[in-house]
Symmetry: C2
Subunit: 454 residues, 2 copies
């Protein structure tokens, strides 16, 4: 065994793309051994940086370099692109070798024709696993879980368990962290971390070691729900139960990290009005992801314009109103967005629940009034100094307080309302909130102006 | 052993607060055994829902119910509040029993006086671990890592390793997933998952089992960097190296999930202009967390007002400009926010790097021009129909395209610029972006109007 320095991964700027250099093939270096030494995740990263043509060429000519682990690391879109260029035998082998969650994900990217071809050559067990996973909805645990796990009855000893694992070998998951202890109906009654099992003599009975504070998740659970449970209980893995309470698979923390990042990305982009959280690689897909929300924004902005148009006579008399109008709208929009982001995040983290919603709304309302008062006073002073008109200052003052108040209320109650209706509180809520703040802002400002100045 | 149904955790709405019922103590139920059956994470959740007084009373009168695991689960602020009410002996015991990362976190929340008291009674090893962790900055791996781990030389056999673990017992980490294989200088040269070790006969040499594709992190690394490495390589645990490349601790995926959630929350709230990502429990702390950004927004909005004021004569002549002005500003602001959110997220995920920044900027610019053209055309048609004036429609058309273009450019280049300066690309970038879109929007719209209409 030769000694190696461990790989603290290089930062993006340092890392040359070995695959690209290999495809150019003009520098005489032995790239092949460098490629084989790449971690699957690094291979996948470099492969994804290649052009589509280069990827397909690589898949066609160097299929054997694309190991099952690399397939599991590649983005879905990239897997879809190269699958047609890989030999059926190699794909089938990969599906057999990988744990069922990764195998299912690769299988999903195949065309119908290729699926049939592959299903025919798969072992019945692997085939059954993939078909069982595909029967579940996207983003549910049944689709995402791994169906390989290690279970043992409580009356086994440490020795029995170790012997069993040595005997089954190949059919065990690649890695596992807990032994699930099950009763005769295969319901989990506890767990033993492998690191605990190892420390005890062969004749210890599992029932003496098991921890019965076991947290389970359900196969029909939404991925977001499962992620929340992992986060709350600091889990590394959890058993998944079927509808009869039998253990049918497991989820592990590394897959949960992917789920959490997907959900966070979705929320953040949804709040900013970007529909498609997927790859936006081209200008055209960027346009597609954003235009629908811009259209909605155009319509609501026109709505606000109608409000302004209603007061055109007042503006005609006092051009100062046109000058200050955007300040009132912008401050309201900003305050509303702040309240909205906090509410969406609190909903995601379950800090905001139906139980404490009223308390949170009251808190937002009070905070909005306080901030409204502070900034209304500032704007009033500025307006008074600028235009030397007390009446315009008073109008700005009243409008700012009203707008802040409604901004706070809208910022928290719109996501709460969406959630209550079973909708995603992040999606479309910012358009609603800014519509409220624009319309109310202009209405309050120009309305009071019309009352007081004319 | 009695059989139990596993706990799929109840949803928030179902769960009664057992601790609150216990404190009321009026229903004759044996709450004590219910409390003892609570998972530490559930105990912590229910405890956090109590009022501050109730928490301190509970800590004073029922200190023994607050186990070390519960202390590790509680939010920092809550730990800080109750520590003065717990007996020093119990705290010291908790610090000894917990892994060093959790112990350090609890220690951080103590007052100086209590720290000294506790340090005196701690075992030298626990004391050294805590002091070593505290020497690192907040949010670095050295502060967050666990200092207990299992390492073995490559020439040991499976049997040697198992015997060693049985002998050291208490000083091992509570849970571990990998055995780190080290050379004579304690540099890691590979790892063996515990689940792999278990499957092999006692006389197998570790060198035959080890996987040398080991991913390591460094003690001075920022937590965000470490989280990225875990995500990329799908790690469950990773060794942490000191400055000489020796293994000095480990990080595990459950702690990484906490880090990821903190970082995501920070980014999302920063984008919305909320400074303090911490607990905003009262209206006053809510005001404090938001007022600074509202103040900044007021100043930039006034800046935009100056632009409008510069064209007051033009607006006086054409009140239609005042009506459409907010539409141009709002569309630009929206487009800018979209580009900004995508850029901030891509930076966080390392999809946007110095290498592909130019490509991304060009893509944003092109997408902005396309969307700008689409919505400029729509607004022009609406303006023409509404006001029956071709010239105002043309002004709106040109201003919208210009504003969209700058919104896209600002949305991606401002976070890139902040990142390049070593600043957080999420913090304050939305204020910059909307300032650009407001100022340029009004300038383009009113400027062209002055040129064309007067």
């Amino acid at each position: 065994m030769t000694e190696k320095t461990p790989n603290t991964p290089p930062t993006e700027t340092e890392a040359p793309n070995i695959l690209r250099q290999f495809l150019r093939g003009d520098d005489g270096t032995d790239r092949l051994s460098q490629i084989k030494a790449l971690h699957p995740a690094d291979f996948a990263d470099q492969f994804e940086q290649l052009t589509n043509d280069a990827r397909q060429g690589f898949a066609e000519n160097n299929a054997t370099l694309i190991s099952p682990e690399i397939l599991a690391e590649l983005e879905d879109e990239v897997v879809e692109d190269i699958l047609p260029f890989l030999p059926a035998g190699q794909i089938a082998e990969a599906l057999t070798e990988l744990d069922s969650d990764d195998a299912t994900q690769i299988f999903e990217e195949m065309e119908d024709e290729q699926r049939e071809e592959i299903l025919e050559v798969l072992e019945p067990e692997d085939r059954a696993n993939i078909e069982a996973s595909l029967a579940f909805d996207d983003e549910t645990i049944g689709r995402l879980m791994q169906r390989e796990f290690v279970a043992a009855p409580p009356f086994w000893t440490v020795g029995d368990t170790v012997d069993h694992m040595r005997a089954t070998g190949e059919n065990l998951p690649d890695l596992f962290f807990n032994i699930w202890i099950v009763d005769t109906r295969f319901h989990p009654i506890g767990y033993i971390p492998v690191s605990v099992l190892m420390r005890h003599p062969r004749n210890t009975e599992l029932s003496a070691l098991l921890n019965d504070q076991i947290i389970t998740i359900e196969q029909n659970m939404d991925q977001e729900e499962a992620a929340y449970i992992f986060e709350k209980y600091h889990l590394i893995s959890a058993p998944v139960l079927d509808d009869d309470g039998r253990i049918t698979g497991i989820m592990t923390a590394d897959d949960i990290i992917d789920i959490i990042q997907d959900e966070n990305k979705e929320d953040m982009l949804a709040l900013a009005g970007v529909s498609d959280a997927g790859v936006t690689d081209t200008a055209l897909s960027t346009v597609q992801a954003r235009a629908p929300w811009l259209l909605l924004n155009l319509l609501t902005a026109i709505l606000a314009s109608f409000v302004i148009a209603f007061f055109d006579y007042t503006i005609d008399q006092f051009v100062q109103l046109a000058i200050l109008m955007p300040v009132v709208a912008s401050m309201g929009g900003n305050a509303g967005t702040q309240a909205l982001a906090v509410a969406v995040r609190s909903l995601a983290e379950r800090d905001l629940t139906p139980q404490n919603a009223w308390r949170a709304i009251r808190r937002e309302a009070l905070a909005a009034l306080i901030n409204g008062f502070i900034f209304a006073a500032m704007l009033a002073v500025i307006a008074y100094i600028w235009f030397d008109r007390q009446d315009i200052a008073i109008v700005a003052f009243i409008a700012m307080i009203i707008n802040h108040f409604f901004a706070g209320i809208a910022g928290i109650s719109i996501p709460l309302g969406l959630k209550k209706m079973g909708l995603d509180p992040a999606v479309s809520s910012s358009v609603f909130v800014t519509t409220v703040t624009d319309v109310i802002g202009f209405l309050a400002f120009l309305g009071f102006a019309a009352l007081m100045l004319l």
